[in-house]
């Protein structure tokens, strides 16, 4: 909301306060100052008396100006858009601009310049401008520009304070905060008679609890006087004609929206009723709206003439030819106006105030004020009676203040007298008090003050938080399951950092097509989709972290990256709205940075990713169960298990995708379930006795059909009950596709088996016996030939 300081000054004398001081007052009252449009002090109007080209600079002129001081000033100027006798803004030496730039008298190419002639943009009056700001030629030289362009505050009013949505409201607040008298003139004594008349019927009392209308005849529609136009323009409103301007002025002055109808355009009496389904309404903005039975309209016999509380109709609007008006001032129910405004996507200064709640006791005074102005400025003759229907709601009552409770919540020992002073200053009336409690009547405009805590808030707000001492209240904090998970995740993160992985963060919403094509084991039925997406690209919650990582891979590949090492941790979603935490790694490309030692490093393959997992996870070896039909993004895929429990999956991305993103090496992915991981990390690790007796190794090389996975051999060794065998490690794989050294359908594996006895040094024959038993069993169980 735009508020003019000049306008405020008419309502409370703030002349001794600087713009900055008023900014602070508003800010600490809880009124956010989003911007201040103000001309710096020291800028005055000046008339250009002569202008000559600078003898020593092509683009500069030397001007003589009269700034009303009696002493002509010489200014060097670069603008071209002026003529001699133009009145322009002059920033005198000493003028400080908000940017920190300060005007000083100085020589420019040999010519003295005693200030700067300014453009609208330089004065903060426009976003951009071309050349000097030319002022009306009636402007008296020496007039401070801040008088012509008084400061305008752009304020953000929180939804709980509709009473601040007017100049009077802001003035009332500033008067309270600075302990000054409020200069609001008395309501004109226009209301001679209130008549409830059959001319108005309200059939929707829940939508429009109160409605008033006053006939004003013989109006002369024409332009508003200058003072009125100026006030409206200052707050960003375009003057239209005196009647419309008056209603807008009263709105900005008091916060009560009004509407004036052209009486001659109406057919019969007023009805305030609920709209019929699909009722058409042509609004002042020229748009036709289709209404619903939850909207409230003001109608005559022909149909809707206004969308209640939001906008008047095109047909019944006041024009130059209007001679008789009906002035509406009403109280519309906030939820109704809010819903209609939102659903029709139509808001106005009027709806903004009604949907937050206007002062019920301000409805009739605003009508009176506008009527008086129409009498004064448009020669109107008001009817004796104001027609009303319904009753004004009573929204405020009495609220108790418990002073001890207030003190204990605030954490300060603020005297009761000070609390009372603050509340009284805000317009609350003390009804009665006891030792530690007092009862307060709330003014009708403060509809936000309903409960004890609301009074405490007012005390805190006005007293100021800077006066409340900062205290500490620490406590011992036990580690929650979330704490434990957080620490484990960070442990994993630091291991991944050590392996060169960068953590990514991606958007959790994606398109359903992307979800189905890039997330393994995902069909449309698994997707959790939002009902009201903003775009097709963000309809579905990710069922996996893979799509985000693939888009990171794509972006970096297109940037020319030859290595990809990324991971992400976070929530994934599947039907029925279930959430799970995953940790997903993506790797591919160079195994190490390219250096002079090795300009073309080896490219990562799936063994590398498996190795990375075995490095970061609390177990040294994983079991991979290859999948025979890899799911959508993979060309290779395996389940990762530990102790027969599933931990996640690992795979290699389809080469088609790798080609699509122009990446020259395999892209590998592993996705792990965080919950399963934390369970692994839960296992108590007990100390294991160090080996005191030497181990003995025996190597075995075997030939077997190429189709048998190594996992079968490893499983065989791992499950042997031979107590002396401590480990079996693969150290060579040999195949020969040419079939020369080994038939092409065969492969050769070489294992190193380690034997040890915890209690003594093994003899050669003991090892030989154990090794013999193992090899015999191997030959029996698997189609291998020992070499």
């Amino acid at each position: 909301m735009k508020v003019s300081l000049k306008w405020l000054n008419d309502l409370v004398d703030l002349a001794d306060l600087s713009t900055r001081e008023i900014d602070d007052l508003l800010t600490f009252a809880g009124i956010e100052v989003e911007g201040i449009q103000s001309v710096p002090q020291g800028v005055v109007a000046a008339i250009i008396t002569s202008s000559e080209k600078h003898s020593n600079a092509d683009k500069l002129s030397v001007c003589q100006v009269d700034d009303g001081s009696g002493t002509p000033k010489q200014i060097v100027c670069g603008a071209k858009n002026y003529a001699v006798n133009d009145v322009v803004p002059l920033a005198a030496p000493g003028t400080a601009f908000p940017s920190g730039f300060e005007i000083v008298e100085r020589k420019m190419r040999g010519q003295i310049s005693q200030g700067m002639l300014c453009s609208a943009a330089e004065l903060g009056l426009a976003e951009e401008s071309d050349g000097l700001l030319i002022l009306p030629d009636t402007t008296v030289p020496g007039t401070p520009l801040s008088q012509i362009y008084p400061p305008i505050f752009d304020l953000e009013i929180t939804p709980n304070r509709p009473d601040l949505l007017s100049h009077r409201g802001i003035a009332r607040e500033l008067a309270t905060l600075t302990d000054r008298p409020l200069l609001i003139p008395k309501t004109p004594e226009i209301i001679t008679q209130i008549a409830t008349n059959a001319e108005i019927t309200v059939s929707a009392p829940h939508h429009a609890p109160f409605y008033s209308a006053r006939h004003i005849n013989h109006v002369k529609v024409g332009p508003s006087p200058e003072w009125l136009q100026e006030k409206l323009q200052a707050v960003g409103l375009r003057p239209i004609n005196n009647i419309v301007d008056i209603t807008n002025y009263v709105l900005m002055e008091t916060g009560q929206p009004l509407h004036a109808f052209d009486a001659s355009k109406l057919n019969g009496g007023f009805m305030v009723r609920i709209a019929t389904a699909h009722e058409k309404f042509l609004a002042l903005d020229g748009e036709e709206y289709s209404l619903r039975p939850e909207d409230v309209v003001v109608a005559d016999a022909n149909g809707a003439i206004a969308l209640g509380g939001i906008m008047g109709g095109e047909i019944s609007g006041v024009t130059e030819n209007t001679t008789s008006v009906i002035l509406e001032s009403a109280y519309f129910a906030p939820p109704v106006i809010r819903r209609t405004s939102r659903d029709l996507n139509l808001s106005s200064d009027s709806s903004y105030r009604f949907e937050r709640g206007v002062d019920p006791q301000g409805v009739l005074p605003a009508s009176a004020l506008a009527t008086q102005l129409i009498v004064d400025l448009a020669a109107g003759k008001p009817a004796d009676a104001i027609l009303t229907a319904g009753t004004l709601p009573i929204l405020t009552g009495s609220v108790q203040l418990d002073e001890d409770r207030a003190r204990s919540l605030l954490g300060i020992d603020i005297p009761a007298a000070e609390m009372h002073r603050i509340l009284a200053g805000l317009g609350l009336t003390l009804e009665n008090k006891s030792k530690t409690k007092s009862s307060w009547r709330i003014p009708s405009y403060r509809i936000d003050l309903q409960r004890h805590i609301d009074l405490v808030e007012e005390i805190a707000r006005v007293h100021g938080l800077d006066k409340i001492p900062a205290t500490t209240a620490a406590a011992f904090a036990p580690a929650s399951p979330d704490d434990i998970a957080f620490d484990r995740l960070n442990q994993l993160r630091s291991r991944l950092s050590g392996l060169g992985f960068l953590e990514t963060k991606t958007i959790k919403l994606l398109s359903s097509e992307e979800a189905v094509t890039t997330c393994p084991h995902t069909s449309t039925d698994d997707l959790v989709t939002v009902k009201n997406p903003l775009s097709e690209d963000h309809t579905t919650l990710r069922p996996s972290l893979i799509p985000g990582l693939l888009s990171a891979a794509e972006r970096n590949s297109h940037q020319g990256a030859t290595t990809l090492r990324f991971y992400e941790t976070g929530t994934v979603f599947r039907t029925p709205e279930s959430e799970k935490q995953l940790i997903t790694l993506l790797a591919g490309g160079d195994s190490q940075p390219s250096t002079w030692h090795e300009a073309r490093p080896r490219q990562l393959d799936i063994s590398d990713l498996r190795g990375f997992l075995e490095t970061i996870l609390p177990v040294s070896s994983l079991t991979l169960i290859p999948s025979h039909s890899p799911s959508s993004p993979f060309v290779l895929e395996a389940d990762i298990t530990i102790d027969k429990k599933s931990l996640g999956l690992i795979g290699q991305i389809q080469p088609a995708f790798t080609r699509k993103i122009d990446f020259q090496a395999p892209i590998l992915i592993a996705e792990l379930n965080a919950e399963s991981l934390w369970q692994l990390m839960n296992r108590a690790d007990t100390f294991e006795e160090l080996d005191r007796f030497p181990a003995v190794s025996r190597d075995v090389a075997m030939e077997l059909p190429a189709v048998i996975p190594n996992g079968d051999i490893q499983d065989f060794f791992d499950t042997q009950k031979e107590s002396l065998l401590v480990s079996a490690r693969l150290f060579d794989v040999f195949t020969d596709p040419a079939g020369e050294k080994l038939p092409a359908h065969k492969k050769s594996l070489a294992y190193s088996l380690t034997y040890r006895d915890k209690t003594k040094t093994l003899t050669t024959s003991e090892v030989d016996d154990a090794h013999g038993r193992i090899l015999a069993a191997l030959k029996q169980e698997l189609p291998v030939q020992i070499r």
Partner: protein, 339 residues
């Protein structure tokens, strides 16, 4: 005999000196001290040395043996030293090193960690809640009535089930109060929240917040002020001015927005909004009591404060990041700047 020994010595020392490498030196050792060595033969000849000369010859014999042994050791040391020097000869210490890839966490993780670590020092535990939430946890329980402007399909993502994507992490306040057994309750919850916004330089449809809640019998506004001042000064510097501006949130009363003053060299100091906070509204406690069917959170018996702040915003301020999208694009050239 003595002359003979002197000759053996001088020949031997010359041989040793001339040995070009380890192998030659080992050969010298055998030929000079081995069974067939002249010195060994001379030793054997001691029997025939006249008695009166035995002492002198014996002494000489030992002296020659020592000098040969010493010369061999010294020559060996010299040869090794030469070899060691040759082994590193010509290594260019100015060549670039063999490097490995270095990774790091995401800047948003780094900010979250900083906040969590600081708040843990102040005695907060972590809490969490689902991202798909009920209207009750996101709005009703937080004193945000059905007709509240923030509560609509224009700003909030809904599901056909009637559930929604939480619009703030304040839902975790409710989850924590519903489940806790005893007071005090001191929790923080970092997590995602969602708003139905088009993505541009200053908006994402998803962002990270950290939420804090402290409820006990005598929590004061002063405690809230002390907590946030310490937290923000831990992040922005211990002498950073912090101010509290009255504001409005449905679920706290009184409510404040918190600003810190940024002081950048050569620029006017600037107040930047960082957090929202306030004392938990009694209506929130009343709703929790109804939910729990007990009076652990009776509005007349407990007070509490809550606060929340945006992690993206903090990151953008701390690192002067001009476009929020940089935080989700995952360009390695961006991410590695935070290593």
């Amino acid at each position: 005999m003595l002359d003979e020994l002197a000759q053996i010595q001088s020949d031997a020392l010359a041989d040793i000196e001339a040995a070009p490498d380890n192998a030659a030196l080992e050969q010298c050792r055998t030929s000079l001290l081995g069974k067939k060595a002249p010195l060994t033969a001379a030793g054997a000849g001691m029997k025939s040395v006249p008695k009166d000369q035995k002492a002198a010859v014996g002494q000489k014999l030992n002296q020659v043996r020592r000098s040969i042994t010493t010369a061999l050791e010294e020559k060996l040391a010299t040869l090794r030293a030469d070899a060691d020097a040759r082994a590193v000869e010509g290594i260019d210490l100015t060549l670039p090193g063999r490097t490995a890839f270095r990774g790091n966490t995401h800047p948003l993780t780094q900010i979250t960690d900083l906040l969590v670590h600081t708040l843990r020092r102040m005695g907060f535990s972590l809490a969490s809640g689902p991202e798909i939430e009920t209207e009750f946890h996101c709005f009703d329980a937080l004193n945000t009535p059905a007709d509240h402007p923030a509560r609509n399909e224009k700003d909030t993502f809904f599901f056909n089930s009637g559930h929604l994507l939480r619009t703030h992490t304040s839902t975790v306040q409710i989850r924590a109060m519903e489940s806790v057994k005893t007071l005090p309750l001191r929790v923080i919850a970092p997590g995602s929240a969602f708003r139905r916004d088009e993505i541009d330089a200053t908006h994402l449809n998803q962002f990270t917040q950290i939420e804090g809640l402290y409820v006990d019998e005598t929590v004061t506004l002063g405690d809230l002020k002390g907590t946030l001042e310490f937290l923000l000064q831990s992040i922005f510097g211990h002498d950073t001015p912090v101010r509290f501006r009255p504001h409005f949130f449905p679920f706290t009363e009184p409510s404040f927005e918190v600003d810190v003053q940024l002081r950048i060299k050569g620029k006017q100091p600037k107040w930047i909004e960082i957090a929202g906070c306030g004392m938990v509204d009694p209506n929130v406690f009343a709703s929790i009591c109804e939910q729990r069917s007990d009076d652990l959170f009776h509005p007349d018996k407990v007070t509490g404060y809550a606060f929340g702040m945006g992690v993206e915003r903090l990151a953008m301020i701390l690192w002067s990041i001009p476009d929020i999208r940089l935080l989700i694009e995952n360009d390695a050239r961006f991410l590695t700047q935070f290593g």
